[in-house]
């Protein structure tokens, strides 16, 4: 909880920065603040404190996802450092990103439907504005508009579902809803409709097939760094919320939502990965791959029960680190080549460092050992097989092979195709951050025990 206070404080500092004129120091202040927030979260470990009449519970699951959100955001700010120096209105944009974090932490720790709604809205409203932050760019506007429409639509589903569940149980708190379900032998039919509506609303937020169609356009249209924020921090928050919702609140009515969710899982795995193959733009490919990864996390979510939190956490951490690298490099190339097509061609000759970092990121996403992505997939597969879902695992294995196909498309063009344009300079700051992230991917793959707190 203390970390949430720190994050909100950072947002206020950011808004004051414009007036008090210390814009240049903003990013260092953020980094220190976020590190403090992580430290505070670590100190709360194991306490499982309740806040606001049990509306938020900072148990270990909430804390670990909060730490992941904070750490990802810290890396994001380091990568975005240059971006904030070139853009105008940096303080309000930076404040919006901080508010995204705040919303994410609330989504990871809610114990009350109203709190969930609050978290989702704080996060989403900030993102709508961020997605449209390139005001003169048509695609950015389109992305913001589409994101807003689809987001509101999903929230509508969610609200309707919450209302129906409330109608059946008379409760907003997750634990009390669960208790009420256990106490009532006969639940009214609209309760089940409510559960399904909530699942659908959440599936929109994590962009699972068939509720994913907004994602590629929004990811492509939004400024690349904002896309990387959506693909990492937002996805982490959405999955943390999804996990709490289904396993804290609805484990007793598993038979209502588990099968639909498994159908969604298979659809997400197959459709997203197959569609990604046919993308010619790397950014769009990464958008579909992000949807595909949601499929693997869903597989973990639907096969593991409450014990799946550790697997989900590890997978999200591995995926976030790799995604940050990929988008940071994409962003650097867009700036260097002025958004030219095929900017990855011959990157190994233009900048060996970027090519190697990108390769590590893509290999991790493809699930090649000894990188983090492999161990993430391994944990998911072991968990699913141990629960008897061998069929689902075979599907997931086949789709990860399809994944290899499109990730290697990029690798082949980096190492094999002829480059256009001259060498690309990489600032030593960016080199350091990317090296750190690469080390994180290696460390998570070689010593995964250190990253499995749950």
């Amino acid at each position: 909880m203390n970390s949430l206070y720190v994050i909100c404080g950072l947002g206020l500092i950011s808004l004051i920065a414009e007036l008090a004129n210390f814009k240049k120091q903003l990013i260092p202040i953020f980094i220190v603040g976020i590190l403090a927030a992580i430290g505070l979260a670590v100190m709360d470990w194991g306490t499982s404190l309740h806040y606001f009449s049990d509306m938020a519970i900072f148990d270990n699951v909430a804390l670990s996802f909060s730490i992941l959100i904070c750490a990802t955001a810290a890396f994001w700010f380091l990568i975005a450092n240059d971006y904030f120096h070139t853009e105008t209105h940096i303080t309000d944009q930076a404040a919006l990103v901080i508010f995204v974090m705040a919303g994410g932490v609330i989504m990871a720790s809610f114990n009350n439907m109203a709190m969930l709604f609050l978290g989702i809205e704080i996060l989403s409203l900030s993102l709508y504005a961020l997605a449209g932050s390139r005001k003169l760019n048509l695609f950015s506007n389109e992305a913001a508009f589409k994101y807003f429409l689809m987001g509101s639509f999903a929230t509508g589903f969610l609200l309707m579902g919450i209302a129906l569940v409330y109608g059946a149980t008379g409760q907003f708190h997750l634990d009390k809803i669960a208790a009420s379900i256990a106490a009532q032998p006969e639940l009214p039919g609209f309760f089940y409709a409510g559960v399904i509506l909530i699942i659908v609303g959440m599936a929109f937020k994590i962009s699972a097939v068939p509720f994913h169609f907004w994602a590629p356009d929004v990811y492509e249209g939004a400024p690349t760094l904002i896309t990387s924020l959506m693909a990492t921090v937002v996805k982490t928050a959405a999955f943390a919320a999804f996990f709490r919702m289904v396993w804290y609140c609805f484990p007793a009515v598993e038979q209502t939502w588990l099968l639909p969710l498994q159908v969604i899982t298979v659809a997400t795995l197959v459709l997203a990965n197959v569609t990604a193959v046919f993308q010619s733009k790397v950014k769009r490919m990464l958008a579909y791959s992000s949807v595909g990864h949601a499929g693997y996390i869903l597989l973990a979510l639907t096969t593991g029960g409450t014990s799946s939190a550790g697997t989900i956490f590890f997978y999200l951490a591995a995926y976030s680190a790799a995604t940050l690298i990929a988008f940071a490099i994409l962003n650097r190339l867009e700036l260097a080549t002025n958004f030219a097509e095929g900017s990855f061609n011959g990157l190994f000759k233009k900048s060996p460092f970027l090519a190697v970092a990108m390769t590590v990121s893509l290999l991790s996403m493809a699930g090649i050992p000894p990188l983090a992505g492999f161990f993430g997939k391994y944990l998911v597969f072991v968990q699913a097989i141990s629960q008897g879902y061998v069929g689902l695992v075979v599907v997931a294995v086949i789709t990860s092979l399809i994944g290899v196909y499109y990730y290697f498309g990029v690798i082949i063009s980096m190492f094999f195709k002829e480059p256009a344009g001259g060498e690309i300079q990489v600032s030593s700051g960016l080199k350091l951050i990317l090296s750190l992230l690469v080390l994180v991917l290696l460390a998570m793959g070689i010593l995964p025990d250190l990253f499995l707190p749950l």
Partner: protein, 490 residues
Amino acid sequence: MLTTFLIFFPLLAALLLFAFRPQSAKAIALGASIVEFSVSLIGVFTFDKTGGAQFMVNVPWIASAGIHFAVGMDGISLLLVLLTTLLVPFIILSSVESRYDKPHTFFGLILMMQMALVGVFTAADGFLFYIFWELALIPIYFICLIWGGDNRGKITFKFFVYTLAGSLFMLVALVYLYLQTPGSHSFDISALYAAGKALPASAQSIIFWGLFVAFAIKMPVFPFHTWQPDTYTVAPTQGTMLLSGIMLKMGIYGVIRWLVPVVPLGVAEWGSTALILSVIGIVYASCIALVQKDLKRLIAYSSIAHVGLIAAGTFTLSKIGIQGAVIQMLSHGIIVFALFFIVDIIAERAKTRSLSELGGIRNVAPILATVFIIVMLGSVALPLTSGFVGEFLLINSLVHYQIWIGAVAGLTMILGAVYMLTAFQKAMSGEVSYLATGFTDLTWNEKMVLYPIVVLIIAIGVYPAPLLAISEPAVNDLLLIISDVTAQIK
């Protein structure tokens, strides 16, 4: 300790090459690989020839998942490690540094490859084995992608996806076995053996295919071989040497260590099918090799034929079959390395590998021709060469298994002699081809590589007993594990 050193020393050397990008990358890589070879020789001389697995290291790695860093060597492992550490210095020595852009990356990747290969041959933990198995794929993929020939993007990609597809199903099979182990689960090799043995025959059959496909793609066994000729042809020479000399042995080794003892009932059920596929592969590849015009491609197909024979011998589950497989893995590794090197020498000087354009090389390069004929006779298994020992044992085991299968395999040896000697004749004798003029004989550097190989081919052929003695206890142990099943078959 020794095993750990053998695994991590090449990695360390590779990382130093990547980090410091020294000028003399080749010399440093060569030095590192010679140190590695010397250490493996210490292993050979201190190895207790009567004992089982030795030089064991077993420390918890991912404790929460029951995964250990467990490595060790029994006789079979030791011989394959020896093959790896022996060939890598020769592979590095045979390369021409100026031919490769960014040589430090090139030699670093070769050393990384060596690390993964030694890891595969020594791992005593299923998870660790899988990690090394996959790790071996990454450096060779980039070696082929960065320094390969025309159209390498597509071809190397096919190679990567094929092998990865196989190994992912192997992973699922290993995880399934892991979840059958008692308690909080373990990937320890003996725990996996016990878990696999306890399964009913139907489950063992499914796991058999999960594992076998991975190994069959790597070797490759018919009909999983379609990636191989293109990849061998397009890879840079050193890549082809790594692939054919060492990497395909991973498949055979996998069958011996991670398939036969893990699911003996599955092998009893499907081993004969695998054996017949292997024999089909021998006939098929030999027939195609007969009509090849490209010398490198011809040797690629001959490699499929040879490995088919090794696989077939292994699946007889007899002592002579497996002993023959082990010795033939060594012999084939050495011979195929020398063959690809000779092809590289010819192609570099004549600017072509096409048999119809070559001719008369013997007149201008007699030493090369002499070395070529010795290596070639080793390849067609002439007595007193190393190829003979292995092939004799293998065909012997096949004859005992089923007389007509042995006959078919034996006939293909004749086919092998036909296409190899035809190729030799076309390239070496006859009129001096207009391309062969200006063709120089072996250089000092090339002699340093080829002379020791020739000596080895003859030495192993004349006196193979010490090598067979190293692997014998390990083979006996293996047969003991599956003895109740083999007794049932009989």
